[in-house]
């Protein structure tokens, strides 16, 4: 049977061009960008994706009730931002930020509520510049050799893991210090940066390939839903590695990539962490957007040591040392001095 019908070009064109308007099919009808929707969206994203709700024993439903009453449609953008930022800060996480065109929220108490345990001017004048011309700034690494009663100790200061470490710079510094009895690696107040620099630097102090931690990514809506985890290893990198005594100097300003680095270095028995507990930040942050265009980020992974510990709130040092005012006044950095003692005595 043949279908006979009046079906001309015009009909085809009309049918085809109807689809031009079908771009409207791409919409998100569930979401409005009013204040209540923005608040609920952010709360829900954290609820299903944030990785430390259980670890930090947060009652996330109670936190919603606490802040929800402060949100109403039509409120000022700045007021909405403050409410949302306060809710985000309940996570007590330096990796949790809310970003609007007019402001960015931070969680400061991690290091503001702790002693600074670092004095950059003291380090510069009394250690780095102790022998004047010996101080060098090699790429991102300030370095010198301290000669303490005939014992030579290398001192390396790395201020930010955001500053790229080039192999040539590491080769130069480690070659310069290969005759030293030990190294003081000062990462105090290093707020983190790129994890690629973590492994580039740690590999220069590795004697063999070692498991340093396991990383688990959130993979479901339940607070304890994580994937099977991935092992992360540090292995020797570069033409030569320094594997004598190493004192890693830390304080509460060591966050994120610096905490990852500290955790990685603790896998090597000749490395001792000296100073204060790091700031933590061992969850890898993940970003997204809110219905009103603001963006956010927060941790979506957790990091577990090979022996099963979670140091999200900070990695404790092997030797806890706080700087004393009296020492500073006399030109001494207690943490550096303790590091020198470890290199000299091995304890």
């Amino acid at each position: 049977m043949h279908f006979k019908m009046k079906f001309n070009i015009t009909t085809i064109l009309i049918a085809a061009f109807i689809f031009i308007s079908c771009n409207k099919l791409v919409s998100n009808k569930k979401i409005d960008n009013n204040a209540v929707s923005v608040f609920n969206y952010l709360w829900n994203e954290i609820d299903i994706k944030y990785s430390f709700i259980d670890y930090k024993k947060l009652d996330w439903n109670a936190i919603k009730i606490k802040y929800q009453s402060q949100v109403y449609d039509g409120m000022e953008q700045e007021a909405l931002f403050n409410v949302c930022a306060n809710m985000v800060n309940e996570l007590r996480d330096g990796h949790a930020n809310l970003m609007a065109p007019f402001d960015v929220s931070y969680y400061y108490p991690i290091f503001l509520n702790s002693p600074q345990n670092f004095n950059s001017r003291l380090v510069l004048t009394n250690y780095l510049m102790r022998n004047g011309a010996d101080m060098q700034s090699t790429g991102a690494l300030d370095n010198c050799i301290l000669d303490t009663l005939g014992i030579k100790i290398g001192y390396i200061r790395y201020t930010s893991f955001s500053d790229k470490l080039y192999p040539e710079d590491l080769d130069y510094v480690l070659n310069k210090m290969k005759a030293c009895d030990g190294i003081l690696l000062d990462v105090r107040s290093n707020g983190g940066g790129s994890s690629s620099n973590v492994f580039a630097l740690a590999g220069r102090f590795a004697d063999s390939k070692r498991l340093v931690y396991r990383s688990y990514a959130k993979n479901g809506v339940a607070h304890n839903a994580f994937d099977n985890g991935n092992n992360l290893y540090v292995e020797p990198k570069g033409s030569a590695q320094f594997t004598k005594r190493i004192a890693l100097l830390t304080n509460r300003g060591c966050y994120s990539a610096t905490s990852f680095f500290t955790l990685a270095m603790k896998a090597f028995p000749y490395v001792k962490v000296i100073g204060d507990t790091t700031g933590g930040g061992l969850g890898v942050p993940n970003g997204g957007q809110l219905p009103n265009g603001w963006t956010y980020r927060f941790s979506v992974t957790k990091t577990i040591t090979p022996d099963g510990k979670n140091f999200e709130d900070g990695i404790p040092p092997d030797f806890t040392i706080w700087m004393q005012d009296s020492s500073v006044n006399n030109g001494f950095d207690d943490i550096i001095e303790r590091g020198i003692k470890y290199v000299k005595d091995g304890n």
């Binding site: 079906f7 070009i9 085809i12 771009n23 099919l25 990514a217 959130k218 890898v284 970003g287 963006t295």
Partner: protein
């Protein structure tokens, strides 16, 4: 043996050249009345308009215009049309709530293989109707640096779809009253639509996150290839809907080639909680059909 092959080859070659000359001289007649074997290389370039919703990183709809190019091979044998096609497009997408510096770069690649057959029992007046199938693979890479560790999200979709193809010849011989294109040229108008009924979809894991682990700065915890393969799942119309359609107006030249203007519209909607993805692609492109074989 060698001489026999050589003679056959030369004979075929001369026949092809003769046939091609004949075809060019009698183009109008042949195209109108003789269903023949034809192979075309189709190259095209044009403008793309994208509308995209990627809920892995944002509840906002992003839109933008970009450029694209396509290359394909079409074979017409008797009443069967076979097409292998690749379409590549790139565009910067924006939302309406953020300044222009916050864009999302979208790279879109569409590979398809389709074949369709003339169905004699379903014919409209002056319009040839064909039915067939289409196997298509669509890749979307979205990069947005403002979302830390979620800067790259992707959507890989492989679909199998029934295909409906309409085709109408427009020629002086057929329509002497026509007012446009009065020269002795043939024209062809076709419309094609495919709606997949099964799809293999690969989307990023739950958080769209990749953890760096090896110090190279760009390597992912698992390679992207492993991740993509590991995340493939198959869906039918309950979670997935797509539509591929195009309208093509083809204008034949005398030198065995033709040019065409194509309007193409692709829509895809993947709906899984926390992983929804929608994209609409509208394309206007100019194409050149270069004939590769002789009659």
């Amino acid at each position: 043996m060698y001489k026999t092959i050589l003679i056959c080859f030369l004979n075929c070659l001369s026949t092809c050249v003769f046939a091609q000359n004949e075809a060019e001289n009698n183009r109008e007649i042949i195209l109108l009345y003789m269903p023949v074997k034809e192979t075309y290389l189709i190259t095209g370039a044009g403008l793309n308009q994208f509308t995209q919703l990627e809920t892995m990183v944002s509840p906002l709809v992003y839109k933008g215009i970009g450029a694209g190019a396509s290359i394909g091979l079409q074979r017409r044998k008797k009443e069967r049309i076979t097409l292998l096609n690749t379409h590549w497009a790139k565009a910067n997408l924006y939302n309406t709530l953020q300044p222009k510096q916050y864009s999302s770069a979208l790279t879109h690649v569409n590979l398809s293989a389709s074949t369709c057959y003339l169905i004699n029992k379903i014919q409209f007046k002056n319009i040839k109707t064909r039915l067939g199938w289409q196997l298509a693979h669509q890749s979307d890479y979205r990069r947005n640096t403002q979302f830390q560790n979620a800067s790259l999200t992707y959507n890989f979709t492989t679909t199998l779809a029934p295909l409906l193809h309409f085709e109408k010849w427009l020629s002086i011989a057929e329509n002497k009253q026509r007012k446009l294109f009065k020269k002795q040229r043939s024209m062809r108008l076709s419309y094609q639509v495919a709606i997949p009924f099964i799809a293999g979809v690969s989307r990023p894991p739950f958080n769209a996150i990749r953890v760096l682990n090896d110090g190279t700065g760009n390597a992912y915890q698992n390679s992207l290839a492993d991740e993509v393969i590991g995340n493939i799942k198959y869906y039918t119309l309950n979670h997935f809907f797509a539509l591929n359609s195009n309208v093509t107006f083809e204008y034949f030249l005398k030198n065995s080639t033709s040019i065409s203007l194509q309007y193409l519209w692709n829509f895809e909607s993947f709906n899984i909680e926390n992983k929804s993805y929608k994209v609409s692609q509208t394309v206007f492109q100019l194409r050149i059909h270069t004939r590769l074989n002789a009659l």
